[in-house]
């Protein structure tokens, strides 16, 4: 079982001593919380998780999920007791949450199974559209649908995915054409080879030599080399349309039914082998995209292509959380450049030297053999991206003069009040005002340097400084709050206009059915006029607002990704 990311501290807990009688639901008391250091989830994150769960899975799942996030690992009966929901509802919710990899379980002593929620995984639900769109850009529609099915269903067997995707693709194709299973399988294999999908941990096949009763819960295992191993399946078939549009279905339903049930009884060849989307690989891809576009903005297209080539070469060889890639020689890079690029070796070397000398230090030179060994400094690159985000936020919130002061303090690390005014060339009063504004919002902090051991304030230096890590955390927290606000506002807008939305949906349904049965133009007109012009206006406004709010969510999520990557990379190095 994978350890949840970001979990800090110990989880050692004092068990109730052997003298305690039994453990029914009434005996269970909250564990000695003092010894348990929960992964620190802020209120903003919990609120956001609650909104996401509610929107995607409904209220019951939300209640259970949020309770688990708040209180940590708990067994089934305690959850039911503490949340006041019936045992069956809790079971339903847990099944859904485990299926979607949002909750994991562990067997403790005396056969008690405890469930633990993964808050950071819940937050990933915001990013699903981005994952699906990425799959589309890399592997076209087939890849897009495969990833979409895997994300919507949590985990699936390969045969189930292939069948479903083939059916969906067939629906969109012209009449008479169908999508072959083989093509979908090929795309699936490619996704597995490039690590975008991975196998879920599975139940190990145990021989029946175990004399005791079966364990209350299986222990799932997976090892590294099996993770991307595609089972040898011979999936033969074509996608099917739904019968309603298929005119060949002459129907004796009785004749069809026995055949249909027979299909379901066939043994599935890859039973028990489940696949899930590998979010870390997608994150690696996003990170690479960010670095390449940063280089493109700072320098030019060719340099970004060189960096992209280097990143592509290190995709599989470098683990995703390494501070820098494996060294690549200039000769290797030259050979691996994309075919369309015909720059000479000297030009490539010049570009590499330029990149290595750049103060942002995206690329570093690590040796001279093979024409020069170059690495990409992933950690530094992420740091630069996070810093650029901070600068951009300061600029858009406070203005460009504030941004100038901010960049100045970033560059000089520590500055006194007087020095800030001098270097930034901004009058004292305004500089003061701006510094305090940024200070109050925690973009800038004060560092005290005492001259005397008694820390007397009149004899202490107060220096302004930017602590990038803590500023990034603060900004991340604000992002979580922003998205929660955006979601709430969108739900509010939708609820306000609920009646109007339902009316318009009914009208559309009526029009669709009338068109299907061939109604006249005049009748259609009449039905359309059931929605008055001001109502249409209101609907337009609603649609525009909801689109804007949705687009904002997507935008903020991109910022969250950058900041989270930077913070994670920094924490790993410490």
């Amino acid at each position: 079982m994978e350890q949840p990311r970001g979990k800090t501290g110990w989880t050692e807990v004092t068990e109730p001593g052997p003298g305690r009688p039994g453990f029914g639901a009434s005996d269970r008391r909250p564990r000695v919380a003092a010894l348990r250091l929960l992964s620190t989830m802020t209120q903003a994150e919990i609120k956001l998780c609650s909104l996401l769960l509610q929107e995607h899975f409904g209220e019951i799942v939300e209640k259970i999920g949020v309770h688990l996030i708040r209180t940590g690992s708990q067994p089934l009966r305690v959850i039911a007791h503490d949340t006041g929901t019936s045992l069956d509802q809790v079971k339903k919710a847990l099944c859904v949450l485990i299926q979607h990899n949002l909750v994991i379980y562990q067997v403790h002593k005396r056969g008690v199974v405890e469930y633990e929620a993964q808050c950071s995984r819940v937050l990933r639900m915001l990013r699903y559209p981005r994952y699906i769109y990425t799959a589309k850009t890399l592997y076209s529609d087939t890849g897009e649908l495969i990833v979409e099915e895997l994300l919507l269903n949590g985990k699936m067997t390969m045969s189930a995915v292939v069948k479903k995707v083939a059916d969906r693709l067939t629906e969109t194709m012209e009449d008479g054409k169908t999508m072959d299973y083989a093509e979908v399988s090929n795309t699936f294999v490619r996704l597995a080879d490039t690590h975008f999908v991975q196998r879920c941990p599975f139940v190990p096949a145990t021989e029946n030599s175990d004399p005791g009763p079966p364990p209350p819960a299986p222990t799932l295992v997976i090892n590294e080399k099996d993770m991307y191993l595609v089972p040898k399946l011979s999936l033969i078939g074509k996608g099917k349309r739904r019968r309603s549009s298929d005119e060949d279905a002459t129907g004796e339903p009785k004749a069809k039914r026995p055949k249909h049930t027979a299909d379901n009884k066939e043994p599935i060849p890859d039973d028990g082998i489940y696949w899930q989307a590998n979010l870390d690989r997608f994150h690696q891809h996003f990170r690479d995209q960010g670095i390449v576009s940063a280089v493109a903005n700072r320098m030019d297209q060719t340099s970004s292509e060189i960096v992209r080539t280097m990143l592509r070469m290190s995709e599989i060889t470098t683990p995703s959380n390494a501070p820098f890639t494996q060294p690549l020689s200039s000769n290797e890079i030259f050979r691996s450049l994309p075919v369309g690029y015909n720059i000479s070796k000297q030009v490539l070397d010049q570009y590499l030297t330029l990149l290595a000398d750049d103060p942002l230090e995206f690329v570093g030179k690590s040796g001279d053999s093979g024409g020069g060994m170059y690495v990409i400094n992933l950690h530094k690159a992420l740091g630069s991206l996070a810093t650029a985000t901070l600068e951009s936020v300061v600029q858009e919130r406070f203005g460009s003069r504030c941004a100038r002061i901010f960049r100045l303090v970033l560059q000089k690390k520590h500055l006194e009040q007087k020095q800030v005014e001098d270097f930034a060339m901004i009058p004292a009063k305004e500089a003061k005002d701006m510094l305090y504004k940024m200070l109050s919002e925690n973009f800038i902090s004060l560092q005290e340097i005492p001259k005397t051991p008694d820390h007397a304030p009149s004899r202490t230096f107060y220096l302004y400084t930017v602590n990038i890590l803590s500023a990034a955390r603060m900004l991340l927290h604000r992002c979580y709050k922003s998205i929660a606000n955006l979601i709430e506002r969108r739900q509010f807008e939708t609820k306000e206009n609920k009646r109007l939305l339902e009316k318009s949906q009914r009208v559309e349904a009526i029009i669709a059915s009338m068109q299907a049965t061939g109604a006249e133009e005049a009748q259609l007109q009449e039905i359309e006029e059931m929605i008055t012009a001001p109502e249409r206006q209101q609907l337009e406004t609603l649609k525009r607002n909801v689109n804007k709010l949705d687009a904002s969510e997507i935008q903020v999520d991109e910022t969250i990704f950058l900041l989270e990557s930077y913070i994670e990379s920094t924490m790993k190095r410490q």
């Binding site: 995607h56 899975f57 339903k92 304030p457 059915s513 049965t517 687009a551 997507i554």
Partner: protein, 242 residues
């Protein structure tokens, strides 16, 4: 004692640090004191940057909205069951809420889950073949096919509990299709009147839950024979005599 009198001793009004060090000189006008919490929506000094538009942005946006809608229709979306009220209300028919029994609609792999979580899985009835009525020549089974055709776009769920209290609540999509169905029905009533045939001995089992949900709200389990036809709200289905 010594500190009683609330700070009226020496050094009143002195700060612990030197004001000049943080840049507030003597005699500078300080900003007015804050007497209330900051406003809920403070006025923005600078307009926010426009959102990304263009093909990619719009595609991702459409994708997001589509995903949201799709997830609501999946069986993983668990609707809380509405508590039964004393009197059946008209709005109950149109409210979306979960079924009252404790079964789930999808089939997890129980070998991967702790044994204590195992719950009943509601059996799904297979989707029926649909026959487009106007194009088919009349057959002896026409009447049943009409009723089947009414249900063509509804998803069938066979209730295992046969109590009358068990109401199947339709989802909103199906509610729209109900509206469509009602219009379809009106048109087909005329067609039905013209073709009236004798009933063959065996009937495929149609869940009356679905039939009724189009018209009323209560469900009656249909057991075998053709006699138990539930009268429709709008007009009587022509009685099929054995």
């Amino acid at each position: 004692m010594a500190s009683r009198g609330g700070g009226r001793g020496r050094g009143r009004g002195q700060l612990t640090f030197n004001m000049e060090a943080v840049g507030i000189g003597k005699g500078d006008a300080l900003p007015p004191p804050t007497l209330q919490p900051s406003p809920l929506f403070p006025p923005l000094e600078f307009r926010p940057v426009p959102l990304p538009s263009g093909e990619e942005g719009e595609y991702v946006l459409a994708l997001k909205q589509e995903l949201r809608g799709a997830m609501r229709q999946l069986p993983y979306f668990i609707r809380p069951a509405v508590p039964k009220r004393d009197v059946e209300r008209y709005s109950d028919k149109y409210q979306m809420s979960g079924p009252l029994d404790n079964a789930i609609d999808w089939n997890p792999d129980w070998r991967r889950l702790p044994r204590e979580l195992k719950i009943r899985v509601r059996k799904l009835q297979k989707e029926r073949t649909t026959i487009l009525l106007p194009k088919r020549p009349p057959k002896t089974t026409e009447d049943k096919e009409e009723t089947i055709q009414k249900l063509e776009t509804l998803e069938k769920k066979e209730e295992e509990v046969t109590s009358e209290e068990d109401e199947e609540k339709e989802e909103e999509e199906e509610k729209e299709e109900e509206e469509e169905e009602e219009y379809d029905e009106e048109e087909h009533e005329e067609v039905k009147g013209t073709s009236f045939h004798t009933q063959p001995p065996s009937l495929p089992l149609i869940s009356s839950g679905d039939l009724n949900s189009v018209h009323q709200g209560c469900s009656l389990q249909r057991v075998g024979g053709p006699k138990e036809i539930v009268p429709s709200k709008d007009s009587a289905i022509p009685f099929i005599c054995p």
